[in-house]
Structure formats: C-alpha cells, structure tokens
C-alpha cells in the first residue's frame, strides 16, 4: 500500500466520518493540512474570524443537525481560543470534534513559538483527548474520537497533532470497527430497575416528568409523548429539553427552574413521583436541592451513571439510553390518567398566568418582539439565543415545538454564543430560516462572524434585544444588590452602521407596531440581517427562583423579594 502524508490521512478520515463541513482558522503548524484542502473539495472548510467562533459554530451545527460538529485551529493561541467553545459544547453534551495543530514533535515541551500544552488544558473539559505522535495512529484516533463524541452521553473530543505528523507519511488503514475496552455506552435499563420504576409509576397519584436534553440527543421525542400519554403524566422541560414535547400538547407544562413557570415549579415541588428523563438534575432547574421535593420518589433515567445521586438522592436510578428505556417503560406501565392532579396544575396555570406574560405595551418589550419572531418564522425555523434575559424570554415565549429548533448555551451560559452558533446552524440547515435572538452585550463579543456569514452566504437573521444594559446582571443588581447598578450600563455602537460596514441590511425598531414589518423585511432579504430592537431598558424576567431558593419559593414580582 502506498504511503500518504498525515495531512492526507486526516482528510481521508474526515471523509470516512462523513464530515462535509468544518469551521477553522489557519496558522503555522496546520499549514501542511490546509495545503491539502484543495484536493478534497467535498469537505467544505468555513473560514471564521476567530477560533472561539469556529468552536461555537461546530457546536451549533451539531445541535441543529444531530451530526458531528468539527472545528479546527492552529497551535498556541488558536488552540486556547477554542477553550470556551469546547467547554460549552461538552457541558451541554454536544457531539463535537476539535482538531488542533501543535509544534513539531522535537519542539514539544520546549516552549517554542506558539506552543501551548493544549491537551493538558483541555483534559478536564472534554470527554476524551489525544495527542497523536505518529501518522500511523491518526486513523485510530479519528475513528475512536468520532465514536466517543457521538455515542453514549455525547460530548467534546479533542485531537492534537504536531506539525511534522501532518508531513510524515504512513499507510492509511481505516478501522471499520471501534473497540474501546474502557468505553461501553449503555442502552437498555436493567430489568429490576424497570420493574421498580414501573411499580412506583403505577402507584403514583401526582407523577411528573422532567424531560431534558437527552430526549433530543437520543431522538426520543416520539417515545416521550407516548410514555406521557399512556401514563397520563404531565411533562415539564429543562431549558435544553425545550422542543422535546410540543408546548400545545395537553400534557406539556413548559419549563421549570430559575425562570420556569410558577405552575411547573410548584408541580415539581408537589409531585409524589418525579421521573427525570435525560437530564442532569442541575441547580438552575431544581433550585435548592434538599428542598426541591423531599417527599417525592425520584426515578432518574440517564445514560451517564455518574449523574445519578450526584446532586439529589434518587430512589430508582436507571442507567440507559433514554430512548431505549422509554421503550421498556411504555411496555411495562399501566394506562392511567390523573385528572385531579392535572386539574390542580391547570388551575394554577390559569391563576398565575400573569407572572409569565407579554407586557401590554405601548412600549416595545423584548418579550413581544421575541414572541412575534417565533410566531412569524414558525417552528420549522431554528431559533438560537445568547445568554441572559433575552435567552429566558426566548425560552418562555419562543413557542419551541420541535427537537433541534432551539439552540442555546445551557450549562456554561456563554455570552457571545448566539452569533457563531446560529452561523453553524445555518450551515447545517441551509433550507431552514435561522434566527438568533441576541443580547446587546453578547452580540458585541462575537459579531465579527458577520464577515464569515457574508463570505459564506449564510443568511442568519440577528435580532438584538437592545436595552443598553447587561440586562440579567442589572436585574440581579436591582433585586439582590440594593439597586446598586455597577458596570452594567453598556455603551452601544450604532448597530446599523455595523450592518452597513458588512454590507448587509440593518433595521431599527423602536415601536411595537413596526415589529411585524421588520421581521418580514428581514425574512425577505436573502442575506444576513441585523434588527436593532430598542426595547424597554429596565425590565425583569419573571417568575424567578432566587439563587439558593427552593422551587416552591418561586417569586412573581420584585415586591415578593
């Protein structure tokens, strides 16, 4: 067999893995790889403007498509710029592969130009990482890395390749089977756990499902609905679980957690049986752990056994792929209804509707703008967000109806995620409209990617909820720091001039009545568009579970704090 360069092996590996898009930025040590790109026209390299954005774009690409997202950077600063994006993807269990170059093998450890110990740096923020020291090992590393990233609990995997490994030649053998003795992702749940869970569910009077990101990652929305319907069990979602069930479904009760609905949070603390499905019992979703619901029996289905008993005590932990486990549970549970329990939640929803509603105007509110965007672009579009108030309002009023519709940074809470992630989602879904709800703060962290969007013809619509504040920080200062507003009044550039600089359409909206026309104008434009929504400056997200409080202590207005 003829020998080929390590660079060719890397590109052939990507072909074998079905990678047709990667986001990257060149630099010294990865030049041997870039040099070979022209011979692989089926791999579309999208040149970003900053490596962090390459990582977030790969993340958004993976979330929107369910496929492996891939980002590439050079050594040293290129690699360290990826760190935020790697952490973000891994924390939200997004299947991603990060490739970095490093200095020539003989220079490793010598503090040469643009050397960083990037595998040492990424070790605690990835599912696994590799530094490949021989071109012969590249194919094994890539096949294992992709397998690890996409199976079990998905996550980020990082491969570091010294420059001369790209240049040295080796034979290319693609391993058709991956066999890793230390890694065996679970599938179905153990039968004794299924039996215990079934017994508890059958006897429940007030059961409640917490549906998380795992439902979307394992493509189990259909099973979730069938399970909820058979058991007559209401469903609440975590932030990343939004879209796992249609919000108009009779058993769907919206989001729980810090800015979840009053009724979802009270249902959580009043249920007698809680069934956590593909979620990690996170503090933002559950509030103060010990008082979340000390009386409920908790069944926790997760593919990662380390999530069981980590934050709260679980009565029946079930290790398995939530899709497979739901298949088992659908067979084993009795058909049931819980009319009194549903009525209890329904009444609470009617009585507390006010605390999560769109302000009546006449001023332009972010809630109104977001809800109009959601209505006009429809559920077949992709809706991305940054982090902060606008993110919570998008979760509350975005009418998230299908899996992979909503792309948001959950675990890490990364401001600046919105623009590059939407760019990645658009690359993954060229036929879907992609809108991103931006904060005026977060937008300024990564808007350089508009340059990439223009060059690559990725027509992302960026809707900035511009309140001239770092809104969520301001809300906390108002409520918990005695209205002492410090460093949250952020001076804005003229966002329309930014649009103009990049040669794209910019629209400013200051009145409620102009919202629909602006959205339609943006939709009609074939390119990226910025809409600068000048929204109410000092508004708060309600309801709210103050940090450290229990879900049952959900407050509905500042008067209650």
């Amino acid at each position: 067999m003829t020998k080929i360069s390590g660079a060719d092996i890397v590109l052939k590996c990507l072909q074998k893995l079905g990678v047709d898009t990667l986001f990257g930025y060149p630099g010294g040590v990865v030049l041997p790889l870039y040099d070979r790109f022209p011979d692989y026209p089926d791999i579309n390299h999208i040149l970003v403007r900053h490596e962090q954005a390459a990582g977030h774009a790969a993340d958004g690409y993976a979330r929107a498509s369910g496929k492996l997202g891939v980002a590439l950077a050079t050594s040293g600063p290129g690699a360290t710029n990826l760190v935020t994006a790697i952490t973000n993807a891994h924390m939200d269990s997004v299947p991603t592969l990060f490739i970095t170059g490093n200095v020539t093998r003989s220079l490793l450890g010598k503090d040469g130009f643009q050397e960083a110990d990037i595998t040492g740096i990424t070790m605690p923020i990835v599912k696994h990482n590799y530094i490949v020291m021989r071109p012969d090992d590249l194919a094994y590393a890539f096949s294992e890395a992709a397998y690890i990233a996409t199976t079990g609990r998905p996550g980020a995997v990082h491969i570091d390749i010294p420059k001369d490994v790209f240049i040295e030649e080796a034979e290319f053998h693609w391993p058709e089977d991956v066999h890793i003795r230390g890694y065996n992702p679970p599938t179905i749940g153990a039968s004794e756990s299924i039996e215990s869970a079934t017994e508890i569910i059958n006897q429940a009077e007030r059961p409640l499902i917490f549906a998380g990101h795992g439902i979307i990652l394992s493509d189990a929305a259909e099973q979730l609905q069938a399970f909820a319907e058979k058991g007559g069990i209401p469903v609440v979602n975590t932030l990343l679980g939004l879209g796992s069930i249609n919000p108009n479904h009779v058993l769907s009760y919206g989001m729980l957690g810090m800015h979840g609905s009053y009724w979802a949070n009270h249902a959580a603390s009043s249920a007698d049986v809680i069934i956590g499905l593909g979620m990690r019992m996170d503090d933002r979703a559950l509030g103060r752990f010990e008082d979340m619901n000390p009386n409920a029996k908790i069944i926790h289905v997760d593919i990662d056994p380390a999530e069981h008993q980590k934050n709260i005590e679980t009565h029946v932990p079930i290790v398995g792929n939530v899709k497979d486990v739901l298949g088992q549970l659908i067979k084993s549970i009795n058909t049931s209804t819980h009319p009194d329990w549903l009525q209890w939640i329904n009444e609470m929803r009617i009585n507390h509707k006010e605390s999560m509603s769109i302000p009546n105007g006449p001023e332009l509110s972010a809630q109104y703008a977001i809800s109009r965007i959601a209505d006009l672009i429809g559920p077949e579009s992709v809706l991305c967000t940054g982090v902060g108030q606008h993110q919570m309002w998008a979760a509350q009023f975005g009418n998230i109806s299908r899996p992979r519709q909503f792309i948001t940074s959950g675990g890490l809470g990364t401001m600046g995620f919105e623009v590059p992630a939407a760019m990645g989602a658009q690359a993954a879904c060229p036929d879907r409209p992609v809108w991103t709800i931006c904060g005026d703060g977060g937008f300024q962290m990564t808007f350089q990617e508009i340059g990439t969007m223009v060059a690559e013809k990725l027509p992302v619509k960026m809707a900035i909820m511009n309140n001239c504040y770092l809104g969520m920080v301001r809300q906390w200062q108002e409520l918990f720091y005695d209205k002492n507003l410090v460093d949250v009044d952020i001076t804005q550039p003229d966002f329309l001039k930014i649009a103009e600089a990049y040669g794209i359409r910019g629209i400013r909206v200051t009145n409620q009545e102009d919202v629909d026309a602006a959205i339609q104008e943006a939709e009609a434009d074939p390119g990226p568009v910025i809409i600068d929504f000048r929204v109410v400056q000092q508004d708060n997200v309600w309801p709210m579970v103050p940090a450290g409080a229990a879900l049952s202590e959900t407050v509905e207005s500042s008067g209650q704090i």
């Binding site: 696994h128 599938t187 899709k323």
Partner: protein, 198 residues
C-alpha cells in the same frame, strides 16, 4: 507527623490502560471534583497494557460510589469499583526509621515482634522497620514507636483485592437480555456487545 483521619475511608480499585497521561487524567478528576485522596497506589497487573490503581479516598460510601462512577467515565479507565470493607483484603507497606538509644533497642524490637514487623536496617543510632499490614495496624505501630522518635516514615498507599473467587473484572457482555434486545431491534451483534447505543 501523623495525619488525623477526619472521616471514613473508601477504597476504589481501577483497572486502567497503561498509557501516558492516565495518571494525570485521574489526578485532574480528583482535583476538579474536590475528592480528597488519602493514598494512591499504581502498579502493573498480570495483563500486558493494564495497570491497577488502588485509590483510598476520604468520604461517605455515597462519595466512594461517585468517585468510582466518575473514574469509570474516563475512557482510559477500563473499570472502577468500590471495594467494600468486609469483602476485601487491604494491605499497605510502610518503612519507619526510628531513633534508638542502645538501652531502648530491646523495647523497640519487642514492639516490632508484637506487630509482626521486621527490621531491615540497623545502625548505632537508628533502626528501619518494615511492616506490611492493614492501615489501622500501621497506625497502631507508628503510635507505639512515636515516643522513641520517628525520623522518617514512608508508606506505599493501600492496595486491596476482593475476597474469595470474585475479581475486579474487565467489562464483558454476556447479558442475555441485552443480546436479545439487540437481536429484536435488528442490530447485528458482532464481537463484544454492545457498541452502538444509537
């Protein structure tokens, strides 16, 4: 010199790939999750390419369980399990250098004998004692030697094996239920099962 044990100890056995970086991955995990390592012993096993780590951590059984599960998540950790006290045998080796005045030498040798330890070096003013025993026995011996003046002490960290014919095993997939499930779902089981979790 003596460290006071503030809580119960859990012993975890892990079979790991004998690769560069494994120890860093394990150490990094302990640091990040805030687990307190009492001791860590690493050595080869009967199988080429597999090392065995015995890690003693401070904490409740629930923490021991979390540590084992977090360790097991590392790709290079083949398997990790908590060894229950009554169901395993734990040993540790310690070398203790004690000052000896000629008139005290007999007393010290008596203590050595009582603990079934042995003397591995002797000089005019000092003696090195070797003991292989369970953690508590080593503690008791050092307590008894302390009045004479301990010059230096080194311990290997605990190692342990499950009692009886049970072993800390490599994962295997003989679960009939799992095999049936794969067949029913039309998946072709090849080699060890299962790899694809869809």
């Amino acid at each position: 010199m003596k460290t006071d044990l503030t809580g119960p100890l859990q012993t975890i056995a892990a079979l790991v790939e004998d690769r560069p970086g494994v120890l860093t991955r394990v150490a990094s995990l302990f640091r990040r999750r805030g687990y307190n390592i009492e001791s860590l012993a690493v050595g080869s096993t009967d199988e080429i390419g597999v090392s065995r780590m015995t890690i003693v951590v401070e904490g409740t059984p629930l923490i021991g369980d979390q540590v084992a599960k977090q360790l097991d998540k590392l790709i290079d950790v083949i398997t990790a399990e908590v060894l229950e006290d009554g169901e395993s045998v734990g040993r540790e080796l310690a070398l203790i250098k004690v000052m000896t005045k000629p008139e005290q030498r007999r007393e010290i040798l008596d203590i050595v004998e009582i603990f079934r330890a042995s003397v591995v070096d002797l000089s005019a003013a000092s003696v090195i004692i070797q003991i292989t025993a369970a953690n508590e026995t080593i503690e008791a011996l050092t307590d008894n030697l302390r009045p004479y003046g301990i010059l230096e002490l080194v311990r290997t960290g605990g190692i342990a094996l499950v009692r009886g014919e049970g072993t800390t095993q490599m994962p295997h997939f003989e679960d009939e239920e799992l095999r049936r499930f794969h067949q029913e779902s039309g998946r072709i089981p090849s080699g060890d099962l299962p790899h694809l979790s869809d």
